[in-house]
């Protein structure tokens, strides 16, 4: 059972309520595909991913970035039971999408960096710690149903 402090709860809620999903989602997924090119293996039918410019102007990537980010809404609304909330999504990622769970961590690190860029000095060390704790739990829950 995860214990959240008041600070951590309000920090996570604040970050996601202020977030511009149409900006952060595409930015995070694009950056992930550029910085860790092997993650492109999951997007074979997304068209042109040949170079950074192509990736960053790819509409399917942008749309998918928004989808993935909204996927985290469920966790933000159910912070006391992320594990159960994500059971179905975990099965999806394992059985249907066949995503190596190590990739969740890669996207998590990229998301941290993108949020830091948007928030600037508001992204204090304490805020970063809370955000990374939240992401670690999301990542662990998403990997739980793999067998």
């Amino acid at each position: 059972m995860v214990e959240w402090t008041d600070f951590e709860r309000s920090t996570i809620e604040s970050i996601f309520s202020k977030m511009d999903y149409e900006d952060v989602g595409p930015a995070a997924l694009c950056r992930c595909l550029v910085v860790y090119p092997w993650t492109q293996r999951y997007f074979g039918n997304f068209g042109n991913l040949y170079n950074a410019a192509a990736i960053m102007s790819n509409k399917m990537v942008a749309q998918h970035g928004i989808t993935v980010l909204h996927g985290m809404d469920r966790a933000v609304k159910n912070m006391d039971n992320i594990k159960a909330t994500y059971a179905e999504l975990s099965v999806l990622h394992s059985e249907k999408l066949h995503v190596d769970p190590d990739n969740f961590k890669l996207l998590g690190d990229i998301l941290t960096i993108v949020v830091a860029a948007r928030m600037g000095t508001d992204f204090t060390a304490e805020v970063q710690a809370a955000f990374q704790k939240f992401l670690a739990i999301v990542i662990s829950s998403l990997g739980r149903q793999y067998h």
Partner: protein, 143 residues
């Protein structure tokens, strides 16, 4: 994952922008690492003050950053260029190399915060590759 000529140019270009805020980058990276990854404090138990922004943290942040600049100067042969630093980390400091990745992540977060326009995905890629090579070179003499 060798550094291409393009990677090296991107790294050198970005480093020259970093130089104007070196102290801030160093202090912020180290402060942040100690807060977000408290296990890293175990290497600094001999300091009087581990609080973010404290004097020992600021001074040491500068030492770290200067190490990164030194590595950038030796980017064409990191393994040999950083031999002395590797010996320091291997035999004296004995920092577990897992912490190099932690430090790198914190540094990338700080660079994104302080240079939101310049730290593009392509620059991020080049700097991440470079720092990973630095970490490898630092671990060279461990065993």
């Amino acid at each position: 994952m060798t550094l291409s000529a393009k990677d090296k140019a991107a790294v050198k270009g970005f480093m020259s922008k970093m130089k104007s805020r070196s102290e801030e980058i160093g202090a912020e990276t180290l402060s942040r690492m100690l807060v977000v990854y408290p296990q890293t404090k175990s290497y600094f138990a001999h300091w009087p003050d581990l609080a973010p922004g404290s004097a020992p943290v600021r001074e040491h942040g500068v030492i770290f950053i200067n190490g990164v600049y030194e590595a950038a100067d030796k980017i064409d042969d990191l393994k040999n260029g950083l031999l002395t630093l590797s010996e320091l980390h291997a035999f004296m400091l004995r920092v577990d190399p897992v912490n190099f990745k932690i430090f790198i992540h914190c540094m990338l977060v700080v660079l994104a915060m302080l240079f939101p326009e310049d730290f593009t995905p392509q620059v991020h890629l080049a700097v991440d590759k470079f720092l990973a090579q630095v970490a490898l070179a630092l671990a060279e003499k461990y065993r």
